[in-house]
């Protein structure tokens, strides 16, 4: 049969073919297995009187280098549910995207609002299935029929709910602020200020976190994404007059001119 080759294709999900190779590379010490980009991060979430506040910093690091100075770490799961991600950047992006679709399908099937509990449970089930290998540390927050909810989902499949949460490399600095300043039944403004203070503690005292503060406020039937609500960290000095790059420092060996011919009609893309 012509379509026999389809049977040899993987059915879906992850491909583990290179696991043994990567382990051998790491053990030999000659070659380094490819490294993932981690978001050394500070994220937090707080429950207040009539909603949830989620907040995150905006730095993404790869080793000691800042990869992105203004990335977005607050992901949307459903109109009433948001989640902050720490850990491996790619895992957070893809897992939240996957769960977002599942929630949308569920919404369409049941004609009802998603519950935060279900979103968290789906995230945790996925993480547990892979035994902690998927590096997602998430704080899920939202408002559903049961009121405001805040749930933390760790990568090993653990899930717990408290009135305030912090995760990421700056979690200790942020938690210090939370522990001293949290009180029950805060107003919206108090909660936002508390979150900003906690994230700023992470930004200034943890090297893995930095740049700006993003805040997301979720209340009943409404959410508000306050991106870069604080942006105090920027380059303070640049050389006046800028830089000159002298052209004669690069030797031009040869020059080519190609004429680009565009013919009418649809052309197949040359992939050679």
């Amino acid at each position: 049969m012509e379509l026999d080759y389809l049977k040899t294709l993987p059915l879906g999900g992850f491909n583990f073919d290179n696991c043994i190779r990567n382990r051998a590379m790491a053990e030999s010490g000659i070659l380094q297995a490819p490294k993932t980009m981690k978001t050394g991060t500070t994220i937090c979430g707080v429950l207040f009187k009539d909603g949830v506040v989620l907040a995150a910093d905006t730095r993404a690091t790869g080793g000691s280098i800042v990869g992105d100075k203004n990335c977005e770490k607050i992901h949307n799961l459903a109109p009433n549910i948001f989640c902050c991600g720490a850990g491996t950047a790619a895992d957070c992006d893809h897992v939240t995207e996957m769960i977002k679709r599942q929630l949308e399908l569920h919404r369409l099937n049941t004609h009802s609002e998603n519950r935060v509990q279900m979103a968290a449970l789906k995230l945790v089930a996925h993480a547990f299935k892979y035994g902690g290998q998927i590096g997602t540390h998430l704080i899920v927050g939202g408002v559903d029929v049961k009121g405001p909810q805040l749930i933390e989902c760790s990568n090993d499949g653990n899930m717990y709910s408290m009135p305030y949460h912090t995760t990421g490399s700056g979690s200790l600095a942020a938690m210090a602020i939370m522990e001293t300043r949290y009180k029950e039944n805060m107003t919206r403004e108090e909660a936002v200020n508390l979150c900003i203070a906690a994230i700023e503690a992470g930004i200034y005292h943890d090297l893995g976190s930095g740049s700006n503060v993003d805040v997301c406020v979720i209340t009943r039937n409404k959410y508000e994404m306050l991106r870069n609500i604080k942006h105090d960290n920027f380059k303070v000095f640049s050389k006046p007059g800028g830089y000159q790059f002298k052209k004669d420092r690069v030797q031009v060996v040869e020059e080519f001119k190609h004429k680009l011919v565009v013919e009418a009609g649809e052309q197949p893309m040359d992939l050679s």
Partner: protein, 303 residues
């Protein structure tokens, strides 16, 4: 400074006994005899050991294990001046030494202008491959020992002897983690001679050596074109050619070429200091009728 004998030979008499001369007049001996004498007196009894140094060691018993594990414990600590092409060969007018000038730390080029020929004194040269600090320090130490010998005995040490000093030090520190691959060359009463010494205390007298990561490429050019009866100009061109070829193919070598010539009459000359290899590469290729961009005979495809 108060001592009026400062710097004079007699002021060294109370110094720790390091280098007792073999009481041999080298000029009246055959060269093989010098080797024999050295092996008898220096090599076996190990009199040329480094003294006066008190290297701080890591606490604990396992020195060598500690040195080996430094790479994980302290990243960047032991990385410097790796990746080299150095070559030297004997020919009828003495010895020609040619080196590149790149120092790399992993994939990072830390310098393109390193001096890899160490001018030990006015008749001895050493090249640098492996640990830059090890080569620099111990070859300077040998320079000091040679001066002391000269003050004591009123004559310059032979190249054979000076190289044996370095080899003896390497034997003393064998297995301790020193890293050195040097071509030790110089000119004495018997003319110019060339030795290869490395951190395992190997000491080989030879006619043609190329050391370092680009050494194999340099050997290719050298072995093809080498003749003993070359003139100086031919030898210099061969040295430049070999280093340029090696820097072209070996990414850990590069920068500039430096050429030294050790004459048969007790001194060395600096022939070329810093010729840029990329200029040389295009020059050589264009002489062959090529562009130098490595795409001869193929149409260029940019889209």
């Amino acid at each position: 400074m108060d001592n009026e004998n400062f710097g004079l030979a007699k002021s060294f008499s109370s110094a720790p006994v390091l280098s007792i001369s073999p009481h041999t007049n080298f000029s009246q001996k055959e060269q093989t005899d010098i080797e024999h004498e050295l092996n008898e007196q220096v090599g076996t009894t190990g009199e040329y050991v480094s003294e006066g140094f008190c290297f701080k060691l890591a606490p604990g018993q396992d020195q060598i294990g500690f040195m080996r594990s430094l790479k994980e414990k302290a990243p960047k600590l032991t990385d410097f001046a790796k990746g080299t092409t150095t070559l030297a060969f004997e020919f009828q007018e003495g010895v020609l030494v040619a080196v590149d000038a790149r120092a790399t730390m992993g994939a990072f080029i830390s310098s393109n202008n390193v001096r890899k020929v160490i001018e030990i004194n006015d008749f001895l040269l050493g090249t640098m491959a492996g640990g830059a600090a090890d080569c620099m320090f111990w070859e300077k130490y040998v320079a000091m020992q040679c001066r002391v010998y000269e003050l004591r005995n009123g004559e310059k040490p032979s190249v054979a002897m000076a190289s044996m000093m370095l080899a003896s030090i390497m034997r003393q520190y064998r297995g301790q983690g020193l890293s050195m691959g040097t071509m030790f060359t110089g000119s004495d009463k018997t003319g110019a001679s060339l030795y290869y010494i490395d951190n395992d205390a190997t000491r080989v007298k030879g006619r043609l050596f190329a050391v370092g990561s680009g050494g194999t490429f340099a050997y290719g050019v050298l072995d093809t074109n080498y003749r003993y009866d070359m003139s100086l100009d031919e030898a210099v061109n061969l040295g430049i050619r070999a280093i340029t070829s090696a820097t072209f193919k070996d990414s850990a070598s590069g920068g500039v070429v430096r050429i030294y010539h050790v004459t048969n009459h007790g001194k060395w000359n600096l022939i070329h200091d810093a010729i840029d290899v990329s200029e040389l590469h295009y020059q050589f290729e264009q002489n062959k009728g090529h562009t130098g961009r490595g795409n001869e005979g193929k149409p260029n495809k940019y889209l």
